[in-house]
Each structure stands twice: as structure tokens, then as C-alpha cells.
Symmetry: C2
Subunit: 206 residues, 2 copies
DNA sequence: GAAATATTGTTAATTTAATCACAGTTTAGG
DNA sequence: CCTAAACTGTGATTAAATTAACAATATTTC
């Protein structure tokens, strides 16, 4: 089990590495990768050490191999199925954003309570009524949910999620959710991020 | 200058506290606040210690006072102006999301290169051509930019941002941006978050 | 009003994450 | 083939963040 921060960075490295591959770059040095990601060469090497990959000395890391090793760590072999819960502006944005990107994570359903959205195909993904959550999650073997419902229904919906057998949640709601201990959850709050930027802008002024 | 994580948590506490106020709750204990935020009472007390607020012993923290103290720390007196750069799905979602929320941060302009969007009012905010960035930023005293442009134009746009005098950036692009050292930047990458959730779901299985 | 209880504020200890420092390799240049 | 230069891999160290531990204080109960 890798440190959270290392997992994040590996995901980011992979994106850069894929870019390198497209540009025909076959090898990359730790300091180059570091430069691309606001961090240090040592940090990059340490992260790569965690996943047990070693380069050919002096040539840098083999881009293609490193991509594969990171894939072995991050990806599940058969891929994982993902659902977006709440088809508002943000839900739609995220869905369209992900569709056609990385292939091991498939958004295969969205859910909403709005009857005008139900059964329609939005951004290439079918929208189901929230009442069918458990049924569809089981049938389609969905293990991850992206929560983009309004704040006032968030905690109720999260109960249903856990109930339906979801194993991981990415919560974009402003409400911190309570989930069962075996469910992994990551919360992201845009307002907090913006307020943080504002704070540091403010304090830099002095 | 507070630790980053403390700043984040203060922002989150404030949200809960405002909620408490609405519900007529006038005092709150550290362990109550902790429960609402997946963390411990000690952590809450430590965070509050950082901002130098002390409660009446045994009564818990005065909700209204605490909100004010957090406001003194996080908010700028006259507020800060914010622009959204890139009016795609995500940009629109974020704009509508923020409009009408917290009042000390005002989204007052959006920018895009798409001529069909320019000069239109989207989610209540006017869209300007990117070419007028510097002019508008100066005129309207905008200090924070939210980046939601496509990956391939991200680094070019970020140069323009720094050039225009922006002091803080919230980057939703998948590309890590290079900014001047006096510009504060926070990067958030949804793909990374989702891959992180997937990793921990995967490893929990074993 | 004394004892028991609940809660805060803070020092100390622990854990986690990042950085330093350097030995070990490989390559390049003479 | 020898020396210098360029990188990697990793033990040791430092720094940052979290948690534990507990004294101090206010409130309640009897």
C-alpha cells in the first residue's frame, strides 16, 4: 500500500510520460520529470523506488516501461466501472470530461432524480433514476461513484451508495460524507480551494 | 502564515458553522465539529489555536464569534475579484456553482477564445475575449484566475495570466503550470483523484 | 460547597513526508 | 584504460503534520 501522495504523483507522472511517448521521447531523467511537476528529482526517484522500478543507469527511465509499471500499480486488470451521481452542471462536465480519456476507468451510468433526465443519454452515458441505484450497481458491477448532487441531498444519497455496494467515492459535494469504513472516499471542495488561494494571495500582500 | 491544511480545514469548518447558525445552534464543541469533518477533536482545537481564538471553557465555541474570527483570517476586507478562464463545460459549471455563494470572492468575468461566446453573459457573468485579458484584469482589479482551458493551450494562457498581474491561480487543467514565484497556485486534477480512489479500491480488495 | 464530570489549551511524542548526502554505475572524452 | 561527469538508488536526517497526554478550568450533582 503506497502513500497517498505517491499514488497521486504516479498518476500525474503517467500523464506526462504518455505525452512524452507521443512526442517520441523514449527516455526521461528524474530531474526532467521533476521539472514537469513542481517537485524535486529526489522525490521522483523515491516515488519510482516505491514501485520497484529501476532504470538503466545514466540513460534515464525508459518511458514505455515506466508507463507499464505505473499501470500495473494503479490499474485494475479488468478495469473498474464508475457511476456519476447527480447530472447537474458539474456532473455533466465531469462525465464529458472523462469520456474518451483513460480507458481502465469506465463511466457507464449516471443517476438523477429529475424525471426529465432519466432514460436520456447524456454525454454518451445513460441516466437512470436514483431509485434503481442498487439494482444497476450490482448488475453492472460498478465500484466507484462520483458524487455531484446538491448539498441538501448528499448525505442521504451517500447512505444509498454504501448500501448499494459501492467501494469508492469521489465526493464533489460541499458536505463531508459519512461512509462505512471499508469504503474509500476522497473529498474535493472547490470553494475550499478557492478560499485557500484567496488566503495566500491576501497574506502574500503583506 | 498558517499551514495549508489548516487553511483548508478552517474554510470547511466555517461552512459547517454557518449551517449550525441557520439551525439556531449557538455553541459547538470541538468534538462535534470534528465529527462533521472526518477528523479529531484535537485537530480542531489545534486549528482554532492557530487563529488565536479561545472559547468560554466548557460551553464550547461560540458559533457566531468563530465564524467572524475565521473570516478575519481567510477573507480580504474588500473582497477579491475572480475570473474564470475557459468557458467550457467545467468553466460554466464552476461559474454557476460559485455565483450566489460566498460573497467575499466575486467572479466578475470569464474569458474565452470562442467568438460565439464572447460578449455573451454566461451564468450571469460576461465573457470577454482572451486577448483583452490584461486590460480587464487591470481595470477590474482581478487577482485570482480559475483555469479551465483545454490542456493544449494551458501553458500559453498561464503565461498571459502571470503577465496580466494575476496573483493566484486555481488550475483545473491536467497540465502542471509554471508561474512566477510570487503567484500562488493550487492545482486540482480530477483524473488523478479518480485514479487514486481506484487504486485504493483495488488494493482494499486483497 | 466538595467531588465528579466535561471540555479546552498546550506540551510532548509519534508518525508521515520530504530532503540531504553520498556511494555506486554507466558513459564519454581523452 | 583512466579520469571526469552525469545520474540513480537509498540510508540518514530534517521538517511537517498529527496524535497522545494531561493540567487547568468551568459546570453539574449531590
Amino acid at each position: 500500500m503506497l502513500p497517498e501522495r505517491t499514488v497521486e504523483r504516479l498518476s500525474e507522472y503517467r500523464r506526462s510520460l504518455l505525452q512524452c511517448l507521443e512526442e517520441g521521447k523514449t527516455h526521461i531523467f528524474s530531474h526532467e520529470l521533476a521539472e514537469l511537476h513542481h517537485n524535486t528529482a529526489v522525490q521522483v526517484r523515491r516515488d519510482i523506488m516505491f514501485i520497484g522500478y529501476t532504470s538503466m543507469q545514466r540513460k534515464g527511465y525508459d518511458v514505455r516501461e515506466l508507463i507499464n509499471v505505473i499501470g500495473d500499480i494503479l490499474d485494475s486488470e479488468q478495469g473498474l466501472n464508475v457511476a456519476v451521481i447527480g447530472v447537474g452542471n458539474l456532473g455533466r462536465a465531469i462525465t464529458t470530461y472523462f469520456i474518451g480519456k483513460r480507458s481502465k476507468l469506465n463511466i457507464i451510468a449516471t443517476f438523477d432524480v429529475d424525471t426529465t433526465k432519466i432514460d436520456r443519454v447524456i454525454s454518451g452515458v445513460k441516466c437512470y433514476p436514483l431509485s434503481r441505484l442498487k439494482e444497476i450497481v450490482e448488475k453492472e458491477d460498478i465500484s466507484i461513484a462520483i458524487m455531484t448532487v446538491p448539498a441538501d441531498s448528499a448525505s442521504e444519497v451517500s447512505t444509498q451508495l454504501v448500501d448499494s455496494g459501492i467501494k469508492g467515492v469521489l465526493n464533489f459535494t460541499t458536505v463531508p460524507l459519512q461512509v462505512a469504513p471499508d469504503v474509500y472516499m476522497d473529498e474535493y471542495d472547490m470553494i475550499t480551494s478557492l478560499e485557500k488561494v484567496a488566503y495566500f494571495v491576501k497574506t502574500a500582500r503583506t
